[in-house]
Amino acid sequence: MWDYTEKVKDHFLHPRNVGKIEDADAVGEVGSLACGDALRLYLKIENDRIVDAKFQTFGCGSAIASSSALTEMIKGKTLDEALKITNRDIADYLGGLPKEKMHCSVMGREALEAAINNYRGIETPKRELEGEIVCECFGVTDQQIRRAIRENNLTSVEDVTNYTKAGGGCERCLPDIERILKEELGAREAKKPSPRPKKLTNIQRIQMVQKVIDEEIRPSLQADGGDLELVDVDGTTVYVSLRGQCTNCPSAQVTLKDVVEARLQEVVDPEIQVVEVE
């Protein structure tokens, strides 16, 4: 028995926007009978805005609920706004889905993309062209797998199967999925800022503040004709003086708080306060 949220049950038992739009401006279709689930999405579009959406779905309870949720979410949105919707947004709208069912939300996002591509005259590329097929059983490409990993912060092969179905059939592609996952996790690791030392000595703190100001903050201010000088560091209070264009700039205080202080808090110490001195 799946642990569906009340919202999933509600959207399954009382699906919104079921049916066809006979004069639809866009139709997006993903899945098939053989796959076990399929979604056909119909859109009515005026001035680049989705004014109506309907769907037909073959699939389990969460597939029907995800389709219903998707149509509710996109109505009234511009196409660009709608394209920003991720599968996680669909799952969140439903109060979450069991992880084995996350692929239902991915199907929703893919149908939306297919429909908008259809409207914009972009031939939805055959999956073969969008990347290399990794899972033969369900026709899942490496690009689909990478996207699911990135958008949902997946960390295991099992997660990838739950979200994309890849590897859920004959399981021959599991080593390939593992390789892709390792590559993606490696890339994610590299993006993380270098971890901060736990407790800084005063001298370390001063050196780091100086380094961040000299290497990051000043060059970006100088690019706009401004500049900044580090005057003193007292505990976690950093005294700076604005120079050049910055002295007359009405948004200098905002820069000080939102850029300089935020960056120093992020890199050096979350306690840091930046104070301007003459």
Binding site: W2, F12, L13, P15, V18, E29, S32, L33, A34, C35, G36, D37, A38, L39, R40, Q56, T57, F58, G59, C60, G61, S62, A63, I64, E100, K101, H103, R127, I133, E136, C137, F138, G139, T161, K165, G168, G169
Partner: protein, 393 residues
């Protein structure tokens, strides 16, 4: 809301008579049957009676019954025992449609270096005896063929299969979990070495099963410990469970006639009613060689889990071989082995009845089911066009 329980191949209601039989053995007669005092000894006597009752329904000697905790334990014990007793034989034969208790075990044994032949089934879920004959080798240690399939109810020709296997001097095991209590079994007439049954499929509680080991069959215990079950299965006996299983077997023998007349008629009524009322519906399993209580149907263009969720809304319990109900992504291995087209496999529903079901319940489902299928087909994009595309296209 009342419950209409049509999922008896998953588990059954404990018969109240069975429950009354086991009840005193929790708080009052709780002695250990191995004890020297008469307080425990009287329990030992009751176990003997239960063993006789189980033996009676199978047509075997009480000494050939080993009580276990479940069907899975029985299957593991039999197959592992056969391999351990014949270390020079490394080949196992079974079918593609076995329960995971056998299938996952033999797949595990393959990783340990054993050789495996999996027998296929035809579109009605039936095995081919010639294929069985051809699969046997000089180093075949054991052949394991289920008596009846849990998903489709197809009943295998176990008697003929056992004859073929025994004529080659090979051990024969049958997982009869779905058959015992539903169809007559007489081990006196059949050259079977191991047979497994499970209590909760025949109105006894969960946690009790039995393994028949024919006298003279080489045996190595799976559970090693005390002298219980004459050294064939260590561990203090599940006394209330064993007593319940004995009573359940006695009742099963008494109700065998009813199972094969009244329950069969109910099942047939359900089958006829649903096939007549709902277009694009097919029967999965053998039309005649089938358990009297089991009906497996596929509804085209709709998905099994969605059907079960809507049945649940009206209190009807059934199960499905659809991918989505199991958490796996592929439909049931049984339906795939039978070559059921994907267009049908995802929409399969199994109804399994028992002597506790009524005609009124059957008529209720026959009345409600068409609405459920119609509702889901009205959402489905495929219902009107009948032209499914391939998955990877």
């Amino acid at each position: 809301m009342r419950t209409v329980y049509f999922d008896n191949n998953a588990t059954t209601r404990v018969d109240p008579v069975v429950f009354e039989e086991m009840r005193p053995y929790f708080c009052d007669l709780y002695g250990n049957p191995s004890s020297m005092h008469s307080f425990g000894g009287q329990v030992g006597k009751k176990l003997g009676e239960a063993r006789e009752r189980v033996a009676a329904v199978l047509g075997c000697d009480p000494a050939e019954i080993v009580f276990t905790s479940c069907g899975t334990e029985g299957d593991n014990t039999a197959i592992r025992s056969a391999l351990e007793a014949q270390p020079d034989k490394r080949h196992i034969v079974t079918t593609k449609v076995e329960h995971p208790a056998v299938l996952n075990l033999v797949n595990h044994l393959v990783k340990k270096g054993y050789h495996l032949t999996l027998l296929g089934v035809d579109e009605q879920g039936m095995i081919d005896l010639d294929e069985l004959r051809d699969s046997l080798r000089d180093d075949t240690a054991i052949v394991s063929i289920m008596w009846a399939n849990n998903e489709t109810g197809t009943v295998f020709p176990v008697a003929e299969a056992a004859d073929i296997v025994k004529s080659r001097g090979i051990l024969f095991h049958t997982d009869a979990v779905q058959a015992v209590g539903k169809i007559p079994i007489d081990l006196r007439a059949l050259p079977i070495d191991f047979l497994v049954l499970s209590g909760h499929k025949l109105h006894a509680p969960k946690g009790i099963g039995a393994l028949f080991v024919r006298r003279g069959t080489p045996f190595r215990p799976f559970m090693i410990g005390g002298h219980q079950e004459r050294g064939r299965r260590g561990g203090t006996e599940n006394v209330p469970g064993i007593i319940a299983l004995g009573k359940a077997c006695e009742l099963a023998a008494a109700h065998m006639e009813e199972e094969n007349t009244r329950v069969r008629e109910l099942r047939d009524r359900l089958e006829r009613g649903l096939l007549a009322a709902i277009p694009d519906t097919r029967l999965n399993g053998h039309p005649t060689e089938r358990l009297p209580n089991t009906l497996n149907l596929s509804f085209k263009f709709v998905e099994g889990e969605a059907i079960l969720l809507l049945l649940d809304q009206i209190g009807v319990c059934a199960s499905s071989g659809s991918a989505c109900t199991s958490g796996s992504l592929e439909p049931s291995h049984v339906l795939r082995a039978m070559g059921v087209p994907f267009t049908y496999a995802h929409g399969s529903v199994r109804f399994s009845l028992s002597r506790f079901n009524t005609r009124e319940e059957v008529d209720f489902v026959v009345r409600e089911m068409p609405k459920i299928i119609e509702r889901l087909r009205s959402i489905s994009p495929f219902s009107e066009e009948h032209s499914p595309s391939a998955c990877t296209a």
